[in-house]
């Protein structure tokens, strides 16, 4: 398996030092949860629209880039259009607007969190969350280890997908799901076993 640098893999985070970047992580997390809840409680499309405007303003004030917002919005656009049209036909324009706007509220709120916290920090926070669970058998250190192995396996497996794809094409099998999937899985298992063996050899999985 040949390696290659994993490009754009940290695409979520936008570096910066705005008030939103400096805001505590738990605060931002609560914000996302609140936005999720809002989609159930906001029953007027005008209220939903106002919340969405506030969130978009927050995005602007944190200098996260309008192009990024538009870019991720483009992913949502077809869904919103189809959904809006369908619900308009079923339930009328006001309800359709409310449903679509609430969807966008959740989307932008979650985007605000992932754009202002670096991935490492988020994952560290998740590992810290596991600490109180220790007494029920959770092991933050092993979790961190599994996380590290997963992140560094992604480029290895992506390369193996490429290689297998090339090999299948060379044999004229590019449309065979089996010829494309099986070698990847076999090499993934072999790679996992080699990694496990290396962990065991270094005594890293021995526990305390």
């Amino acid at each position: 398996m040949r390696g290659r640098p994993a490009g754009g893999i940290l695409a979520g985070y936008v570096p910066g030092s705005s008030w939103l970047h400096r805001a505590p992580l738990w605060g931002k997390f609560l914000g996302v949860v609140a936005a999720g809840a809002a989609s159930c409680f906001l029953l007027d499309w005008k209220a939903s629209g106002a919340v969405l405007l506030v969130l978009v303003a927050a995005w602007g004030s944190a200098r996260l880039g309008w192009r990024r917002l538009a870019g991720s919005g483009r992913l949502m656009l077809p869904l919103c259009a189809v959904l809006g049209a369908f619900q308009w036909w079923q339930l009328g324009p006001a309800t359709a607007a409310r449903i679509v706007l609430n969807l966008l509220v959740c989307f932008v709120a979650a985007g605000l969190l992932t754009a202002t916290v670096p991935l490492r920090e988020l994952l560290d926070a998740v590992a810290r969350l596991a600490h109180p669970l220790r007494r029920w058998g959770a092991d933050p250190e092993r979790f961190a280890l599994a996380l590290a192995i997963m992140l560094r396996s992604i480029p290895v497996l992506a390369a193996s997908f490429d290689e297998v794809g090339d090999a299948a094409r060379a044999r004229g099998l590019e449309r065979s799901v089996r010829a494309r999937a099986l070698p990847v899985v076999l090499s993934a298992v072999a790679y996992g076993r080699r990694t496990g063996e290396a962990l065991a050899a270094r005594g890293l999985a021995d526990g305390d």
Binding site: G3, E141, L145, A148, E197, R202, L204
Partner: protein
Amino acid sequence: MSRIELDGVTVAVSLEDRPDKVVLDGVSATLTERRVGIIGANGSGKSTLLRLLNGLVEPTAGTVSIGGMDTVRDGRAVRRQVGFVFTDPLSQLVMPTGREDVELSLRRSHRSRSERAAAAQSVLDRFGLGTLADQSVYELSGGERQLMALAAVLAVDPEVLVLDEPSTLLDLRNRDLLRRTVSGLDQQVIFSTHDLELALDAERVLVVDGGRIAFDGSPAAGVAYYRELCGLPARPRA
């Protein structure tokens, strides 16, 4: 040097629907030399022999001990004393960067984070890897990766170092770098190889064939024996 003892070691792998496959068959040896090379064909059992040395493979019959410690009973202590470097450093380096990987090795031996960082830095500097430590391990060359894996294993100061075909994936220049690095180590080194030049660096050579030790003696005689075993003239033509 630690006294490495294999006493009547048999390793059999049980296969579904088929009779067990005997990988090593009653192997006994006592290794006390500073550099021991193990050569043999693919599937001869030499990898299994190496994996016995730090408890990765447990003997089906017989015992293996390192400095008096049994590899099964005292597995954890043995693994702390015997460092193992695999052929492919990419399956060995588990963290995204070399520095994190070295620090991972040190996680048990140092109390504080700053102590660990300092110890990691000194190991990396010793191998001339200081400037590469924060790069993704993917961006390193094969030789640099192999050195990084070596550094991560040596960070905890094992007494014995086991290298499984360390030069197989390296080009000529990197292979030379590896040879020089290994020859400068204080540790007892046991390595397997197909690289007969590397084998000549050892003080003692074992040739493994069909799960048994077929030859045990000086490197030059061992290499000649192995060449004949493969149907080649004992000495390469100049």
